[in-house]
């Protein structure tokens, strides 16, 4: 028996809007490297996405929901600013009322925060199984360019005791106080930015490079030791810039790329990227995941893939399965179902 990731699952809504629709409406699409993005159906939100991803993860892990001791939810787009939503997810997946729940909010780093806390919960012996789900659909006013890359998606991981498909080897984190790159005031609905791209990029690079380098030093590895790296992908250009600064090759980060088809899925992006990589990974592979949250922080996590993964391949729908099932909508319908008009 050891402790690690027992299973995972994702959910990506089936509606898509593509670059051409934005160009028709605005004359441009301010989302570098995004070809199309996933859009919530009228009856979906970050909770409903989480529930499907969580059911997939529990089935993949072959863990009965009644055995869960913790349910953690991570999002920047919880439908409620106050009211637990991990409780909704816990009930919907069939967890017992005796679970520790927590909502991790207000940062795109929340997904990796929750994953690491879930692992700590189990590793400290306070419980046997934890479900961690990150789900996000960032929102901004349609007139703002920052809105263009915002997509939607969810991922979920079951960590606990058993025969893990992957083991979280180590992590390191960095925080730097930074202002004004991406934020949403308490009373506001829309994410904002001061729109100084060079400054934003400098803060992201500094924070992420620091956490990645610290983790690599701590584990005594080289950048080339990782078969896959999952890097922040708020747009399609960012991973290659971060990779260049940290000594990673394109072949290491390309398999994790989801932003070109899903858009920016906020706190869920690093975990959907990890799921996509695990869909392809083989036993013995090493994965590095780095998240980023404005304000600013970054978690870097090193993961070893185990033999068990081969037994669970294809047990639940993969990232590719969800990407393949899609229906294109036009910009007016997009505004309508997002209640933007």
């Amino acid at each position: 028996m050891s402790i690690g990731i027992l299973g995972y699952g994702v959910y990506i809504p089936r509606y898509r809007i593509n670059r051409a629709e934005y160009i028709k409406a605005w004359g441009q699409f301010a989302a570098a490297g995004v070809e199309e993005k996933a859009v919530l159906g009228f009856d979906e939100d970050s909770i409903t996405m989480s529930v499907e991803a969580s059911r997939n993860a529990l089935n993949h892990a072959e863990v009965d929901a009644s055995k869960l001791n913790a349910v953690y939810f991570a999002s920047t787009s919880s439908p409620y600013a106050e009211k637990l939503v991990s409780s909704t997810i816990a009930m919907a997946v069939g967890a017992s009322p005796r679970v520790s729940v927590a909502d991790f909010t207000s940062s795109t780093m929340a997904g990796t925060s929750a994953l690491l806390m879930g692992l700590d919960f189990v590793a400290s012996g306070r419980g046997h199984f934890a479900l961690i789900t990150a789900s996000d659909c960032p929102y901004a006013d349609p007139g703002e360019f920052i809105e263009h890359p915002f997509g939607a998606g969810a991922a979920a991981f079951v960590v606990g005791e058993g025969a893990p498909i992957a083991t979280i080897e180590n992590s390191d984190s960095t925080t730097i106080e930074a202002l004004g790159e991406r934020f949403r005031k308490y009373e506001e609905k829309s994410i904002e930015t001061l729109g100084i791209p060079s400054y934003t990029e400098a803060v992201i690079m500094k924070t992420v490079t620091s956490s990645v380098k610290a983790l690599i030093d701590k584990t005594g590895r080289k950048p080339s030791d990782f078969n896959f790296v999952v890097l922040p992908q708020f747009d399609g250009r960012m991973p290659s810039t971060i990779a260049r600064m940290n000594g990673f090759e394109e072949t290491q980060f390309t398999p994790s790329m989801i932003v070109s088809q899903v858009g920016d899925a906020g706190a869920a992006s690093p975990l959907i990227g990890l799921a996509k990589v695990l869909d392809e990974a083989k036993p013995g592979n090493r994965v590095l995941v780095a998240s980023y949250g404005a304000g600013a922080g970054s978690d870097a996590v090193s993961i070893n893939v185990n033999e068990e993964i081969m037994k669970r391949k294809g047990a639940v729908p993969s990232v590719k399965d969800y990407l393949a099932d899609k229906k294109y909508i036009d910009y007016i319908y997009y505004l309508k179902i997002k209640k933007m008009i």
Binding site: F42, D43, D45, T48, G94, K336
Partner: protein, 144 residues
Amino acid sequence: MAHVSIPSYWKTLPQRYCLIGMKCKNCGTINFPAREICISCKQKSEFEPKKLSGRGKIYSYTIIAAGSAPPEFSEQERLAGSFPVAIVELEEGLRIVAQITDYEEEDLKIEAEVESVFRKLYEEDKIIRYGLKFRPVKKRKPLP
């Protein structure tokens, strides 16, 4: 459907979120939703919770078109257009009424396979009411 108060909605969350039916200990019939008297043996029986699989087939359906939606679904009808409501026959044999979501016209067929999904049903007094809808089982693998 008519107005359902939050306290009564709350009492029925297991059936609404998780498709938990009540199995009659007297005759074995699954009652969904829960009842005081078993629908089959008409006895005031003891019941035990039974989780339903969520897999089934469309037994019949109708389209709720402009103007005909109950008040709680009028926003959905206005923004997302007309929507189908089906009687779904679950693999456990019982029939329940629910919306069909994420569908194409050609998916709406009697006998078409469907699976349950957790969705927003409607919002009333700012409270989001979640529950189950069904979607067609097709290209995507069904949930195990």
